[in-house]
Symmetry: C2
C-alpha cells in the first residue's frame, strides 16, 4: 500500500518568506532609516481579475513594509501613455520595482504589451519579464537580475522538499513565458535533466512516467492523472482552473492541472490547488522588490 503524498503547504512557505522580507527591511532600516522599498503597479482599466491581483499585491506589500503605489490609467490608455508612465518610474529613485499589470486594453494587443514590457528598466523589472532578464535566465549561468515570481515560487517549493535537483529528470508541462519556460531554464541551471512538453507534444503520459519531478502549467483541469506518475515523484501543480460544480454556491470550483485524488496516492510530495504555488507567487514579488531596493541602494550609497 502506497503512503499518501506529503502535501506541500505553499501558504506556510509564503508566510515564512513574507516574515523574512519584513524582518530584513526592518533590520536594514535600523541602520539606514531612509531605506524604503517601493513597488509601483501600473494598471489600465478595471478588469476584475486584474484589480483582484493588484489588491493582493498591495496587501502583501503593506504587510511586509513595502510602500505600494498604484498608477491607475483609464482603459483607453495607449501604449505611448503607459510607456510614458513607465519611463517616469524608471527615473524615479523612490521606486524599487515596477510592474505593469497585464493584459492592457484590447486595443493594445500582444505587440504593444511587448513594447511596454521592454520599456521597464531591467533594473526595476520585478516581474522578470524584460528580454534582458529572460536572456540571462535562459543562459548557461541563469543569473538574471530578477526571476519571474511564479517560477521562483516553484523552485522555492522544490527546494523546501530537499530533493536533489542535480541529475533528476524533470518534466515541465507548458512553455509560457510566465511559468513553463522560466521553470525549465531554472531546473536546467540547477543540473536537472529537463523535458519540456506542450500542446503539440505526443506521448506526454509516457514522458511524465519517467519523471522524478513533474511541474504542470498547462491550464487543463485534472489533466495529469495519478496513473501517469512514477511512484514517489514530486508534483508541482501550477494550474489554476475553474470547473463547473453544481454543489458549490458559485457553481464552480478551483482545480489544478493534476488530478489530486489519484496523484496524491502515487506521488511522494505534491502541491494542492489552492494553497500550493499560488500564495507563494505574491510573496516572491515582495522578495524581488526588496532585492531590487537593496541593489539600487547599494549603487547610490557607497558607504553601505
Amino acid at each position: 500500500m502506497a503512503t499518501p503524498a506529503t502535501i506541500l503547504d505553499g501558504a506556510a512557505l509564503a508566510r515564512s518568506i513574507r516574515a523574512d522580507v519584513a524582518a530584513k527591511i526592518k533590520s536594514i532600516q535600523a541602520a539606514h532609516p531612509k531605506f524604503q522599498p517601493q513597488l509601483t503597479i501600473v494598471q489600465a482599466g478595471k478588469r476584475q481579475d486584474s484589480s483582484t491581483y493588484v489588491r493582493m499585491k498591495a496587501k502583501a506589500a503593506d504587510e511586509v513594509g513595502i510602500t505600494f503605489k498604484h498608477v491607475h490609467l483609464p482603459t483607453e490608455a495607449t501604449v505611448e501613455d503607459v510607456i510614458k508612465v513607465v519611463y517616469e518610474l524608471n527615473e524615479n529613485d523612490d521606486v524599487s520595482g515596477i510592474l505593469v499589470q497585464l493584459p492592457l486594453g484590447d486595443h493594445v494587443g500582444p505587440e504593444g504589451e511587448h513594447l511596454v514590457t521592454e520599456a521597464v528598466s531591467p533594473q526595476k523589472d520585478v516581474d522578470g519579464f524584460h528580454p534582458y532578464n529572460v536572456g540571462h535566465l535562459a543562459s548557461r549561468a541563469a543569473d538574471p537580475l530578477f526571476i519571474p515570481c511564479t517560477a521562483a515560487a516553484v523552485m522555492h517549493i522544490l527546494d523546501s522538499t530537499n530533493i536533489p535537483l542535480a541529475g533528476a529528470h524533470a518534466v515541465v508541462l507548458g512553455r509560457s513565458d510566465i511559468v513553463g519556460n522560466p521553470v525549465a531554464y531554472l531546473l536546467k541551471s540547477r543540473d536537472a535533466t529537463v523535458t519540456q512538453c506542450h500542446s503539440r507534444s505526443r506521448n506526454v503520459e509516457e514522458l511524465v512516467k519517467i519523471a522524478d519531478i513533474v511541474v504542470s502549467a498547462v491550464g487543463k483541469p485534472e489533466f495529469v492523472k495519478g496513473s501517469w506518475l512514477k511512484p514517489g515523484a514530486v508534483v508541482i501543480d501550477v494550474g489554476i482552473n475553474f470547473v463547473p460544480d453544481s454543489t458549490k454556491k458559485s457553481g464552480q470550483r478551483l482545480a489544478g492541472d493534476v488530478e489530486f485524488s489519484t496523484a496524491s496516492a502515487v506521488a511522494s510530495k505534491i502541491t494542492p490547488v489552492p494553497g500550493g504555488v499560488g500564495p507563494l507567487t505574491v510573496a516572491m514579488l515582495m522578495a524581488n522588490t526588496l532585492q531590487s531596493a537593496e541593489r539600487l541602494w547599494n549603487k547610490t550609497h557607497k558607504s553601505w
Copy 2:
C-alpha cells in the same frame, strides 16, 4: 538489414546559402547601389584558433560580397579598450554586423567577456549572443533579431531533411549558450518536445533511445553510440573533437560527438564530422549580416 543513413551534406547546404546571400546582395545593389553590408570582427591578441576563424569568416564575406573589416587589438587590450571600439562600431552606420572574437585575453575573463557581449548593439549582434536577443530567442515567440549561427545551422540542416519537427521528440545533448541552449529553444518554438541533457544527466542513453531527433554538442569524441539510437532517428553532430591517431601525419584526427560508424547504420539521416554543421555556421553568419544590413537600410531609407 538496415539501410545506411543518408549523409547530410553541410558543405553543399553552405554553398547554397552563400550563393543565395551573394545573389540577394547583388539584386538589392542593382536597385540601391549604395547598399553594402559590412561585417566587422574585433579580435584581441593572436590566438591561432581565433585567427583561423577570423580568416574563414573574411573569406566567406569576400565570396558573397560583404565588406569585411578586422579590428585587431593587442593581447593586452582591456575590457574598456574593447568596449570603446564596440561603441564606435555601434554608432558607425557603415557597419551592419559586429562580432567580438572570443576568447579575449586571459586577463579579461568570463565577466569581462559578458560586459563586451552586452556592449554590442542588439541591432548589430550578428552572433546572437546579447542577452536581449537570447531573451527573445528563449521566449514563447522565439523571435530574436539574430539567431546564433551554429544553432541556425542545425535548424537549417534539420529543415533540409523535411522531417516534421512539430510533435517530434528531440534530445539535445549540451547546454552551452552557443549551441545546446539556443537549439533547444528553437526546437521548442518549432513545436518539438525537447529533452535537454548535460554533464550531470543520468540515463542519457535511455533518453537518446526515445528521440526522433538527436542533436549532440557536448565535445566528447564518439560519445553517442549507434546502439543508443532509435532506428530511423535523425542525428545532428555538432561536436568537433581532436583525437590521437598515429596513422595521420598530424598525429590526430577530427571526430564528432557521435560514433559515426555505428550510428550511421541505425539513423535515417546523419551529419558527418567534418562536413556537417561546421561549414554551415560561417554561411549563417553571412546570412545574419545581410539580414542586419537590410534591416538597418530599411530604417534609414523610407522609400525602400
